[in-house]
């Protein structure tokens, strides 16, 4: 990680011109659950950029894990992302990481949100998944919301392809609920991530919000649905504000 950080940071900075805000709001030490909206399809620039930013800001000595779909870890980039602390999205892995005192980043929207159409770029959509709130409550760790804009401009995302996933029975056989349809470079049309696309150099803006202590805010037995609604509303307000700042797609 220490050896890869300078090179990766240099490349990511040149390609995505990241603008990262609110790092000073992160808890200075101890475990935290960072909850992000997921963008950019299989390339997901915020995954790499946030990992690099946390490592640069806190030092690589502070452990930080990100949860990812098994297919990412089994892909050709799997060995690299594992070195950057990516582990399979599994509650047991997240619990173990939090118990060890690490920061853990989750993207509750997963493949549903990451392949949303480009015209829904400024929309937070976790698809009603609330497991991350129970994870934070079980481990009594603060939630740090992380809002990203720009990933959906790295290609033209046309459809999640949910109907295609059902028609081909990929949802049952491969547990894939989406077969995304995208247009990008260099091959034009891409279905289900094949052929892979090179991400367009869209400007990526990330903002971290104030940490939320669920029990301090909602009492000893928090209402998960209420916490979910308020978290989504806060993230959506930030994402909408970032979108209003944006003058041009890709250029930022």
């Amino acid at each position: 990680m220490r050896e890869l950080l300078p090179a990766m940071w240099l490349l990511a900075s040149a390609w995505f011109r990241p603008d990262i805000r609110g790092l000073e709001r992160m808890p200075r030490q101890g475990p935290a659950l960072i909850v992000g909206n997921h963008t950019g399809g299989t390339n997901s620039p915020e995954v790499l950029i946030s990992q690099l930013a946390f490592s640069a800001y806190f030092g690589v000595e502070r452990p930080h894990y990100q949860l990812a779909h098994r297919m990412v870890l089994n892909s050709p980039v799997g060995s690299i992302v594992r070195r950057f602390g990516t582990v399979e999205a599994d509650p047991a892995n997240a619990e173990a990481a939090l118990k060890s005192g690490a920061m853990v980043t989750v993207f509750p929207g997963g493949d549903y949100e990451v392949f949303r159409p480009s015209w829904d770029s400024a929309k937070v959509d976790f698809g009603g998944r609330t497991g991350f709130l129970r994870l934070a409550l079980r481990n009594d760790v603060p939630i740090v919301p992380m809002v990203t804009l720009g990933g959906q401009e790295t290609a033209l995302f046309l459809s999640r392809g949910e109907r295609l996933a059902r028609l081909t029975r990929a949802d049952r056989v491969m547990r894939l609920k989406t077969i995304p349809i995208m247009i990008g470079v260099p091959f034009g049309l891409s279905v289900g991530g094949f052929p892979p696309l090179l991400p367009l150099p869209a400007k990526v803006t990330i903002e971290l919000l104030e940490p939320i202590d669920l029990r301090a805010r909602y009492g000893p037995e928090p209402d998960v649905d209420e916490a979910y609604r308020e978290l989504i509303a806060a993230m959506q307000a930030t994402l909408s504000a970032l979108q209003r700042e944006r003058r041009l797609p890709i250029l930022g």
Binding site: R2, E3, L4, L5, P6, A7, W9, L10, S13, R17, P18, D19, I20, L23, A53, A56, Y57, F58, G59, V60, E61, R62
Partner: protein, 161 residues
């Protein structure tokens, strides 16, 4: 990579030392640099720990550091414990009556295959940051000491004269 910058300050060394002896006090003098004292080693001095944040790219680069040399009126140096590997030194030398030469040295090296390239890319910005820091210290040291305000004279009935 190694950066060395120096500046002549028209102020005695003890005045300059008073400004730099606690690195946390440098915060605010230069916007690209923030230094925070560690609560577990209050009071500063030798072996004190600080958290350093230097802005060289999209996000500040952070490191925890420890003061490894602390000679009042002459030397202050720290080395990194976490984060990017670096060494920092401020050296003060008398350069005549009520004149001080302040020297800043900063050595750093990033690991990895493109570490040298990353170091080169950040060199210009780091150098400019430290140059501005020395200029800010000079400005602060040469500032005439503020005189306590005299209370306006008042007449016997309490009105200002």
């Amino acid at each position: 990579m190694r950066i060395e910058e120096s500046i002549y300050v028209d102020a005695p060394t003890d005045r300059v030392w008073a400004l730099i002896k606690d690195p946390a006090a440098l915060t605010g003098l230069e916007e690209g640099l923030a230094i925070e004292a560690d609560a577990e080693t209050p009071g500063g001095g030798l072996r004190a720990h600080y958290r350093i944040l230097v802005r060289v790219g999209p996000t500040p680069i952070g490191a925890d550091v420890e003061i490894v040399e602390f000679t009042p009126g002459r030397e202050l140096a720290w080395t990194s414990l976490t984060g990017v590997d670096h060494r920092f030194r401020l050296r003060l030398r008398e350069a005549g009556a009520k004149r001080t030469r302040l020297v800043l040295r900063f050595g750093y090296s990033s690991a990895g295959p493109l570490g040298l390239l990353a170091d080169l890319v950040s060199y210009g910005r780091l150098r400019a940051t430290f140059r501005r820091l020395l200029a800010a210290v000079k400005l602060e040291a040469e500032r005439p000491p503020r005189r306590p305000r005299r209370a306006p004279a008042r007449s016997s009935n309490g009105t200002r004269q």
